[in-house]
């Protein structure tokens, strides 16, 4: 049951990314297990087989979403954390003192849960181990069925692939490029992302700065990359294994990316797509 420390580079993951050495979420849910499912890119917490929380170093936590998003001051959050006596204390304290409504706490928590679960379960090499009876300090807010989490994780993977099937933009520093004048307009939310793109920050850094879920920022980044507002780096052979496309997604043959994603090719593809969109 110990988490493995030297997991060999995994083969391309199956949809949902579960090729790890640990037990899968479905199995644990079937056993009505409680504890922490440790994955390469995050941890999923279960209570009696239901998912109560998830966290990932890539995804901003509920504290960041609430404070950077402007809903609470950092002071209020610290006060709430300081007042906790037992699990579930932080959320209860915030609701009981009128700082947050029940609905806001739930919505924000669910947002953070599904966001982190996508990175934990949908990217990387899958589960590595299970720590039985480990609980998250936040305590349960609104548990979610494991099947719902799995389904949503797969849906998110497909959604990203449909937008722009280049997973390397998810982790690389975001580099601006001058777009084709006919590119789709940038929305206000996307503009905020572009303003933080300095060639150093990754999408995860930008999400943290904005206090937005990381997956939402990936959606913006993929759309911006597809529209040519940010660079799509060439896929690197040494990059960590990326989430594999779900069923029905576009699968590029191994030899194609180097040639297709070279710069002239990308403009050609974009013109081709514009032409197709104009005629269909």
């Amino acid at each position: 049951m110990n988490p493995h420390t030297d997991v060999p580079p995994a083969p391309p993951a199956r949809p949902g990314g579960r090729t790890g050495t640990g037990p899968t979420l479905t199995v644990l849910a079937g056993e009505r297990a409680s504890g922490a499912l440790l994955c390469e890119a995050g941890t999923v917490y279960l209570s009696e087989g239901r998912v109560v929380h998830a966290e990932s170093p890539v995804a901003p936590g509920i504290d960041v979403l609430l404070t950077t998003g402007g809903r609470l001051t950092a002071e209020t959050w610290r006060e709430a954390v300081g007042h906790t006596d037992g699990p579930g204390g932080v959320g209860r304290f915030l609701v009981d003192t009128g700082r947050l409504s029940d609905a806001e706490l739930e919505i924000c928590h669910l947002g953070a849960l599904f966001d982190a679960a996508y990175f934990a379960l949908g990217t990387g090499t899958g589960p590595r181990g299970f720590q039985r009876d480990a609980a998250h300090w936040l305590g349960p807010v609104r548990p979610v069925g494991a099947d719902a989490v799995e389904r949503e994780t797969r849906r998110r993977g497909r959604l990203l692939d449909d937008l722009w099937p280049c997973p390397q933009v998810d982790t690389a520093p975001v580099v601006l490029r001058s777009p084709d004048p006919r590119s789709p307009a940038v929305t206000r939310r996307q503009r905020a992302v572009l303003e933080l793109a300095d060639g150093v920050r990754t999408p995860a850094d930008i999400a943290r700065c904005l206090g937005r879920p990381a997956f939402h920022t990936l959606i913006d980044i993929r759309r911006l990359a597809a529209a040519g507002h940010v660079e799509t780096p060439r896929p690197q052979a040494t990059a960590p294994p990326a989430r594999s496309p779900g069923p029905g997604a576009v699968v590029w043959p191994d030899t194609v990316p180097d040639t297709v994603f070279a710069d002239p090719g990308i403009d050609l593809l974009r013109r081709l797509r514009d032409a197709l969109e104009a005629t269909l």
Binding site: A103, T187, F215
Partner: protein
Amino acid sequence: MANTQTALKEAMTTIEGSLGVALVDYSSGMALGTVGGGKELDLTVAAAGNTDVVRAKVRTMEQLGLKDGIEDILITLDSQYHLIRLLKGRDSQGLFLYLALDKNRANLAMARHQLRKIEGDLEV
């Protein structure tokens, strides 16, 4: 101070003719909560699909240079109304309420009014 499920249930019971209601996160297209729906109306699919509707409208308004906000979007089918209400006051999150109504039983003006009230209950 309702929680999400209570607020959605209230929408179902107080709004005449409602077939289903969902609270949707419009960036990811995920339904954060659903009540009603069924075989004829899969609310999670409707939620994901309708984020494209909202996004297209937001983008069009940007292109037109309209600095206005969207209060709601109404889609009229032969037998149903679909009402999308964008939640205010939490710009960073981007949520909308999605309500499907039976056209024969629903009072559209009342439904819009009550949906506004339920948005208030969510205090988002």
